[in-house]
Amino acid sequence: MKKVNILIMITIVLLIGVISIPVVAADKLPVVIGLQGPITGAYAIEGEMAKQCVEIAASLINEKGGILDGRMIEIRVVDDACQPKAGALAAMKLISQKDVVAAIQTYGSSVTQPGADLYEKFKKINMAYGAGIVELTRKGYKYFFRMCSSVDKQGNFFANKVVPLFNAKKIAIMHDNQSFSAGLAEYTKIGLQSKIDAGEVEIVYYDAINPGESDFAVPLTKLRETNPDIIYFTGYFPEAALVVRQARNIGITCPFIGGDSAINSEFIKIAGLEMAKGCFMTQEPMPSELSYSKSKMFLEAYQAKYGEIPSSPWAVYAGDSLNVIAYAIDETGSTDSDVLVDYLKNKMNNFNGVTGPIGFDERGDRTGTLHTLYVVNDKGELEIYNP
């Protein structure tokens, strides 16, 4: 009899599940685009901001009368809590809704991965706005696009531009063992290899700290003993801020350069202005620096609604992903994935989005993103560094 109980319970529970699923709108008029992001969990802030950006972008398009002569754009948000399992479910949730024509993918590489596999299987365009690890676009996905740039580009930028700029001989690289930052550190090393072989530079320190922790005195003391010319921290802002503070406290004075996730308004808040100012970061154009016609409009709209401009570049990429997809649909006049893929990869070049001209190469990587070196100025703002 045990089985009976089991089965009854399961069906009851599943029925509850069925009931609770939001009903798919019968009205097919709007073009539905999915957004998968961490609405809850540790990176909830990124998800929240991405949501806001995408909504702004959509509303801007809709105000102009939508796409495909008069069809509005509708956003459907699913939460993946920044966990792979939840990511797979979230992706499934979008895929199973037949009217979702394309998905804007999530923040964090290990979450993007299972999603990308699923979208690929079900032939849905999916565009990642916050997944830096290189492998994603090396697996021959057809329907996967990456709006943000992959870490190797940034690594090379650091190796070829930043290092000479400071004419540094001894370089310390510190990451935090998370997909993105470990990857960036790895590719920076690769980028530096030629110089190392030539004996121009050496990596005197290469180690990881544990994310979520607060005390980095030990690794930093080790680092201090190697007295490097520059420190490159590839991790995220919460740790970055503490690393800077504690590094300065134990008397490390050499320039601190952060990866593109290391420095933002939060960083300055945590590190405190006195410590934060003079810190550098390798970054794709920050929202505040975006000076393209479209970005102005976008940022004004955002500010008008939320009182501040988004502090994270990823969020803006999410918004831009929507722009690109909408544009492609409008141009091709079709919502068929294959048509769109063909258009995005082969026909479209330099669509001017919020984050500048956008195009995609065969692998789905965005072309033409330029990294720049930013510095925190005395007012605690990020400005492009020009010595």
Partner: protein, 303 residues
Amino acid sequence: MKVFLEQLLNGLTTGSFYALIALGYSMVYGVMKLINFAHGDLFTLGSYLGYTILVLGTAYTTSYLGLWGGMVVTMLIVATCLALVGTLLERIAYRPIYSSGRLPLVVSALGASIFLENSIMVIWGARPQAYISEVIPAKILNIAGLRISIIQIIILILSFILMSILYYVVQKTTFGAAIRACAIDRNTAALMGINIGTIIFFVFAVGPALGGMAGVLVGMYYRKITFIMGWNYGLKAFTATILGGIGNIPGAMLGGLLLGVLEMLGSVYISTAFKDVFVFLILILVLIFRPTGILGEKVAEKV
């Protein structure tokens, strides 16, 4: 050598955080035989309360009471609030299920922990908060080539005071004797006329209070506080508790400090990344060879 001393100091600083939190675990366990998983999040809560008080009250605290006065007052307010929350937690989440065995208590504790953690997230938001610098003495002393921040000294002294007070209360007073009696055998203690209610109240008030103060100190030391940090600190503190001998209050203090130093040694001489592995390995070894922890005394099973 200089490096080593600096590191030792850092180790002791983190150690004293662990010790302060571990005390909460240990006392509750001693009396209730319950692993209070929510304790880590009480610590986080303390940290956030301190943050709010300092931010909102900066004007008052600094202008009327000055830097130090402000700090002390904050500490006291946080301690009181946490004592309140702690006892409330016990009333709501634990008291109704004492009768129904220990495992339900564990689940309830886990539930309470999840609840607290997420309420903190809902109230203060998911993004990490930072203690503002104006309220923290950020001076760095340079003693014989050693760089020591004032706040570090404050932490060491303060936690030493707190711990020695508790140590005195528990080891030297009759009330302390009552607590220890409960830790050994609650029912007999009750039969001996000890008021278990008071003991439980004390334990659930003082434990979280200490945890909360540790939270404020952590905030002042690192500035950054996140709503998930409770897990990490809680786990470490719990490890420290076991290390020192669970239910044994001096043991918790020792365990905490020891863990801090071990961590430091581990990351200096092995690898920063492998630090935690190292810590847990030590823990497991200790348990294999001295299952009742360092100070925990062996109890022979009566058959």
